[in-house]
């Protein structure tokens, strides 16, 4: 390997003849001779190669796409990118030295403030990886709060999320048990819930709107049924521009995903797990928390706080192992919410509800399709049921340049032929027209 002049001088300074001597402490029996990878590309070659490679992906703009299920296509104002592109933010790390990191710290504090306001929770941490891992951590935290060995979870939760929660629960020997939904409203089946809440119960997780779209109207009753057990509520934070926040109905823990606030879909990553709780539980909370204080001159300042919960201090006794989180995505959410503001956010949320209503009504009028399947209020997502085979519908739509909703048959066989459709402010009337025409053409 050719070394630069500088490197040679540094080697001389170290009284070494070759770079190899720097690795003489690696025993022969574990040495390898380089890597069997192709030679490096120039920036131009790299751009060309990746443009070609990625060019085969069908994007939401090249085909109207009606997928949601936890990841949503929303508009991102240009100014959000301007803010989030700052190298000072992107190339920094966890603000271990707060005096030189006030920019990120204040931004994260503002993210916490936005989320605390939207959810009406006392404290929201500065992020988990995504909603699925936030749910996993919520199961573990519920156990720290309420003990027990069984965590109840609504059946109307994303199978992906439930799989992740199950992995987290397994480590703590906590069993997950489903609570059914009402077949007409799609909301929590209160009778089923009541029958399952016993002494050994840790807590209960339900969503509003839930995975199948319905907004829960029985949150107060659910709180009542759970008594002193832990209530964990999952939200789509954008819907909270309109909906009663979970803090108002006595949730102990709130989770969700703030990807909807300014982060592209990116094939589902990075996302950002919202994690909030009541102040009485804060010492049991996972993740980084930014607090307010002042410096020795008395100026307001921000720093990470309550770190004695965390792995770098508490090691095996920590509330979680999380270290790297999704700080930049939190900054993105704060920037997005600041840019769109209160009135903008309400308008966007309203547009989502209106688009949902209009699309569901139109699909419902197509012969052989029923939408929304459940009789409840919805935000931007709903189940479409049909007497046609879902996979066939899916394939025929794809052939016509439309990506339909998520086929549910595998996960929710009780819904027979059904799919989960999402629509946001990104869809134009032409996009809806194209879907409706494609559905009509299937017969």
């Amino acid at each position: 390997m050719a070394l630069s002049e500088c490197s040679l001088e540094m080697l001389q300074y170290l009284k070494l003849k070759s770079v190899d001597e720097l690795f003489k402490d690696i025993p022969k029996e574990v040495r390898i001779d380089g890597l069997r990878l192709p030679d490096g590309l120039s920036e131009l070659e790299l751009r060309r190669e990746l443009e070609t490679m990625m060019g085969v992906n069908k994007t939401a703009s090249s085909q109207p796409t009606f997928l949601g299920a936890g990841v949503y296509h929303h508009f991102i104002p240009a100014a959000v990118r301007t803010i989030v592109s700052r190298g000072e933010f992107i190339t920094s790390y966890t603000p271990y030295q707060p005096e030189i990191s006030q920019g990120m710290l204040q931004s994260l504090f503002e993210y916490q403030s936005f989320m605390a306001e939207l959810t009406a929770m006392d404290v929201v941490n500065s992020s988990m990886y995504d909603a699925s891992t936030a749910l996993g951590e919520a199961v573990l935290m519920s156990h720290r709060i309420s003990g027990g060995d069984t965590f109840l979870i609504s059946r109307a939760v994303s199978p992906e999320k439930k799989d992740v929660a199950r992995t987290y629960a397994r480590g703590a020997d906590i069993k997950l048990v489903d609570v059914g939904y009402d077949p007409h409203t799609g909301q929590v089946d209160l009778a089923d819930l009541k029958s399952k809440v016993k002494d050994n119960i840790t807590g209960f997780y339900f969503e509003t709107p839930n995975f199948l779209g319905p907004i829960e109207t029985q949150a107060d009753e659910i709180r009542g049924i759970l008594g002193n057990k832990t209530v964990v509520v999952g939200v789509n934070p954008m819907s909270l521009a309109l909906l009663r926040p979970p803090g108002d109905v006595g949730a102990d823990i709130v989770i969700g995903d703030a990807q909807v606030f300014g982060t592209p879909m990116n094939l589902g990553g990075p996302m950002i797990g919202i994690f909030g709780c009541k102040s009485e539980h804060v010492r049991k909370m996972p993740g980084r928390i930014i607090g307010l204080t002042n410096d020795i001159d008395g100026k307001l300042a921000y720093c990470m706080t309550l770190q004695t919960r965390e792995q770098h201090i508490r090691r095996s006794k920590a509330t979680s192992n999380i270290c790297t989180n999704e700080a930049l995505v939190a900054l993105t959410a704060a920037a997005y919410l600041s840019i769109v503001g209160k009135s903008g956010l309400r308008e966007i949320a309203a547009k989502n509800v209106e688009n949902m209503h209009s699309l569901a009504t139109r699909i419902n009028s197509v012969k052989g399709f029923k939408a929304p399947h459940f009789k409840s209020a919805h935000f931007n997502e709903f189940v479409v049921s049909s007497d046609l085979n879902s996979d066939r519908v899916h394939k025929e739509l794809l052939a016509k340049g439309v990506h339909g909703g998520l086929v549910l048959d595998r996960f929710f066989p009780e819904l027979k032929h059904s799919a989960l459709y999402a629509t946001t402010e990104m869809h134009t009337k032409a996009d809806h027209d194209k879907l409706i025409a494609a559905l009509e053409a299937i017969r």
């Binding site: 380089g34 990878l37 790299l46 920019g103 204040q106 992020s127 989180n325 930049l328 840019i339």
Partner: protein, 489 residues
Amino acid sequence: MTYHQAVHEVPSIFENCERPTTADKFDPTLGGKLPDEIVRKELNLPDLPERDVVKHFINLSQMNFGVDNGFYPLGSCTMKYNPKVCDEIVSMRTVTDIHPLQDPSTIQGALKLMYELEQMLCEIGGVDAVTLQPAAGAHGEFTGIHLVKAYHEANGETRKEVILPDTAHGTNPASAAMVGYDVLDLPSKEGCVDVEALKAAVSNDTAAFMLTNPNTLGLFEKNVREIAGILHDAGALLYYDGANLNAIMGKTSPGKMDFDIVHFNLHKTFATPHGGGGPGAGPVGVKKKLEEFLPVPRIVENKGTYSLDSDKPKSIGKVRAFFGNYAVFVRAYAYIKMQGGKGLVSVSENAVLNSNYLKERLKGSFELPYDPLRKHEFVLSGRPLKAKGLRTLDFAKRLLDYGFHAPTIYFPIIVDEAIMIEPTETESRETLDAFVDACEAILKEDPELLHSAPRNTARRRLDEAKAARDMIFSWHAYEKKLQSGTGGQ
């Protein structure tokens, strides 16, 4: 000393957020589309012109220090320069505007990239299969220890204990505990694993031993094969914490060292930006015998077509929804492609050269515990500062005044007043020399300057105990406290 960070007075974005005094005119039921009992009555968010919001955040950015600003020798975090072409690539619509639940036929490019990244990581790590799903290094550990558990359970064994050296990153014991294991800390001997103590500690109850090599002192664990033998003879597995992989690419590999499971930190070794704390990505690689336990779905290639396979009955399930932090994969993929095999080897060579050069130049001014040759990082002790009534913390704060981010301090815990320095390969000799000059200058300064540091940053030293006492975690909580007259300055 010429560094001065911008000092802006940036009021909270909520400061101008007026609370509605009269009933809000907005109708959240949207004319009855949403029932009245489920809509909210109040929403206290700011409503500012775009111009003011941009000013707010740009001024905040100027009060933040990243690798783009200057030297960031934060040990164990590998704060290398992040190539800007990757920012452009991850902004392409064909990367951003795809949904994880799309039909595989419509995301062939994305699946191909992930499949190839898995293959490249297999080569670098010396392993047989890789999952990209974990979202960070600690999440990779969590995944890896779940694999350990699944492996033993499949063999009809319930082993209860994970052993790790006292130099381990805090995430290691925390991850093992989250999977339900008891954690046994093994005291080090001369900075490395005490092989005799390990032999004595290992039993039929040992599920795994977690190790990073080079370790957190920057020392290469020469007995790694013997260590692996001890664990394997007892039926236990060896886990590799990939935080320090930047030191060894193409020289050795975790697989070659007989590790069974390894996590990679794409945000460290593969130059994806740390984002102020994240996102990162923590793919996990395994030897053949553990492949069947990896999270689902697996990406499968058949004659150039990629599909997803979730039919893996022995899989540990899922550790994160969808595929993981995809945009981070794209950046890491681009970085590896740009470096190529030879480039990655030279990355490690230069990282180790920079580290040893800096160590040689600094060791006279501090204490340097343990053997001289280091890998990508080294740990000094700030103990000599104590004679002047100073601590490592004071030195670290003073470095900020010189325009350098401080090293990692007080870790690893076995070194008194630890100063953990990782220069990375992307810093020039001039930068390293300037850092040495600053360190030497600081040691000659009036101790009071160190006590009262920093002075040239956006804020001076913080009262961190007050933050923990006051517990103000949101702007509205702060306002409430002000109103009740108990908070504030």
